[in-house]
Symmetry: C2
Subunit: 109 residues, 2 copies
C-alpha cells in the first residue's frame, strides 16, 4: 500500500493525539505509532517529526525527559502537558469542522 505525506497543518495534532493515547513515547515510537495507527497510510519523516516536537516543547504542549530505551539507547521520552491536551482538543474540533465541510462538498450532488 502506498504511504502518504502528512497533510500540512495536521502533524502537531497527530503527534499530540498519539501521546494522548499512550504517554512516554520517544520520537521513533511516535512515528511508528502514527504509521501503524493510520493503517499504514500516513508516514512521518524525521525531518518533520523532530522540528514539530521542538516547536511543541517551546510552546509547552509537551515535556521531554531523557531516558533509555529497552535496548539501552538514549532517547527523549515525551508526554502531554495540560496545555497540550487543551490544544489537542481545539485542534481536533477545528479539524473535524473543516473535514466535515469538505465532505459536504465532495459528497455526490
Amino acid at each position: 500500500m502506498s504511504r502518504d505525506e502528512i497533510p500540512p497543518g495536521t502533524l502537531d495534532m497527530l503527534i499530540l493525539r498519539t501521546l494522548a493515547k499512550r504517554a512516554e513515547q520517544h520520537g521513533f515510537e511516535i512515528a511508528e505509532s502514527i504509521q501503524q495507527g493510520s493503517g499504514d497510510v500516513l508516514q512521518v519523516e524525521e525531518g518533520s517529526l523532530y522540528p514539530a516536537l521542538q516547536r511543541m516543547l517551546l510552546k509547552g504542549f509537551v515535556v521531554g525527559e531523557w531516558g533509555r530505551t529497552p535496548e539501552n539507547r538514549r532517547a527523549r521520552y515525551y508526554k502531554l502537558t495540560a496545555a497540550g491536551r487543551k490544544h489537542l482538543e481545539r485542534e481536533m474540533e477545528s479539524y473535524r469542522r473543516v473535514a466535515g465541510a469538505i465532505a459536504l462538498i465532495l459528497r455526490p450532488a
Copy 2:
C-alpha cells in the same frame, strides 16, 4: 459562525468538484459555491482562487471562456475538461484515503 481557511492541498480539488456539480461558473461564483456548499465553513480568498484557476488552466484541467455576467460585467467562465475530471477523481480518492487514516488516529482509543 467562524469561517476557516482552505487546508493546503485541497483547493484544486474543491474547485474542480464545484465545477463538476455545475459547469460554466466564473471565479466569484466558484468562491461563493464553495463557501455555501461547505455550510459557510470554508472561505476561499481571491489571492488563492485565481492563481489556482491559472494553474489548472495551464495543466488543462479546466478551460475558460470570456463572457458576460447577467449584470453585464466581463467574467471568465470555467468548465471541467476530461483531464480535469480524471484529476478530480484521483484527488478525491487520495483525499479520502488520507482523511480516513487521520480519522483512525483521532477516534477514541
